[in-house]
């Protein structure tokens, strides 16, 4: 009887201890820290769109080179202002990229303000200044000539400031160039042009 009671008490104690341990396992707090960050990455920003290419200021048209801006000179001098350097550089680049333009006559013009003889001299000097600049930028001197017409060839009337401003100018005339002529035929099935004849010839214009 006593043994049986002791046995029962022992069993009960062991069981209670186990139950307590189990209960403790169910409760409590687990503290943990993640040492490796969770990486959240998004795509890098798209590069900004490329700025639009600046509009070309120098264009070759038939027997002329046209400038989108006027070449600016110091007042009453044959000195090209810095504001026109970019334009002049572009002009030099166009000349180098178009070897078919073999000879160009640079012509200076003046308004009717001031002495006629002075204007003639100034227009010649300005045309020469332009030529010298282009030669300095690598354009062959043989391709360039310069002259001045003073106030003898106005584009418009000199009666207004706007008119006089328009008459003060430098022009570029192509006096010799290699002209390539292409005869083109449109393919009726594809609608695409096809060169069927191509000829080159030197054209020289008298100035």
């Amino acid at each position: 009887m006593k043994r049986q009671l002791e046995s029962y008490i022992t069993t009960t104690n062991v069981t209670l201890c186990l139950a307590l341990a189990t209960a403790l396992a169910c409760g409590g707090t687990t503290t943990f820290q993640d040492t490796t960050p969770i990486r959240i990455a998004v795509a890098p920003p798209a590069p900004p769109p490329a700025p639009p290419a600046p509009e070309k200021q120098v264009k070759i048209r038939d027997n002329r080179i046209e400038l989108g801006q006027k070449i600016q000179f110091a007042y009453n001098k044959a000195e090209i202002l810095q504001a026109s350097f970019a334009l002049m550089d572009e002009l030099a680049k166009v000349m180098q990229e178009n070897p078919q333009v073999q000879k160009v006559s640079i012509e200076g013009h003046a308004s009717d303000e001031g002495e006629e003889q002075h204007n003639l001299v100034l227009s010649k000097a300005r045309a020469e200044a332009v030529r010298a600049y282009l030669v300095g930028k690598g354009v062959s001197a043989e391709r360039l000539s310069s002259t001045g017409y003073g106030e003898t060839k106005p584009l418009v009337s000199n009666d207004s400031d706007a008119g006089r401003e328009q008459n003060r100018r430098v022009e570029f005339h192509i006096t010799k160039q290699e002209v390539t002529k292409e005869k083109v035929e449109v393919d009726p099935t594809t609608g695409k042009e096809k060169v069927i004849e191509k000829t080159s010839a030197n054209e020289e214009a008298a100035r």
């Binding site: 169910c26 409760g27 707090t29 503290t31 959240i40 998004v42």
Partner: protein, 143 residues
């Protein structure tokens, strides 16, 4: 809850032996029941498993945190940095509660707030038998 059947008096003879055996059986049954309630109904993870399970839960919501980042980037294109958070994982339910960003966070406050808000309502499944006290870090970068 552990039930102990202790109502039967001890008597001599076979009846006593029978009562003793029954009592031991009842205790063992209670113990097994208690252990089952703990280990079958709820996980009792060790700290490493708890951390990993919680991390997996947060990683499963990566798109939400990315949306947080995208939103902040609209106003602050060069925003980046870390958001260190602490929170509690409730025992039994597995719900994340009381999330808060920690002072060592370097990301903009708007991003910290969005992350904290995103943690609210998440729940570990299956939950754990123990409460979890977690510290996790997010690293927000571009590219």
């Amino acid at each position: 809850m552990i039930a102990i059947d202790n109502t039967q008096p001890f008597t001599s003879g076979s009846r006593q032996r029978s009562a003793g055996s029954l009592g031991r059986f009842a205790l063992m049954l209670a113990l097994v029941g208690s252990a089952s309630a703990c280990s079958v109904s709820y996980h009792a993870r060790n700290a490493e498993d708890y951390r990993q399970a919680t991390r997996t839960l947060l990683e499963s919501k990566q798109s939400d945190f990315t949306a947080c980042y995208d939103g902040v980037l609209k106003a602050t294109p060069d925003a980046k940095g870390t958001v260190a958070v602490s929170f509690v994982v409730e025992e039994d339910s597995g719900k994340i509660t009381t999330p808060k960003s920690l002072p060592e966070s370097t990301a903009p406050e708007a991003l910290q707030a969005c992350v904290v808000n995103g943690l609210n309502g998440l729940a570990l499944d299956p939950p754990d038998a123990r409460k979890g006290m977690a510290t996790m870090t997010f690293d927000f970068t571009r590219g």
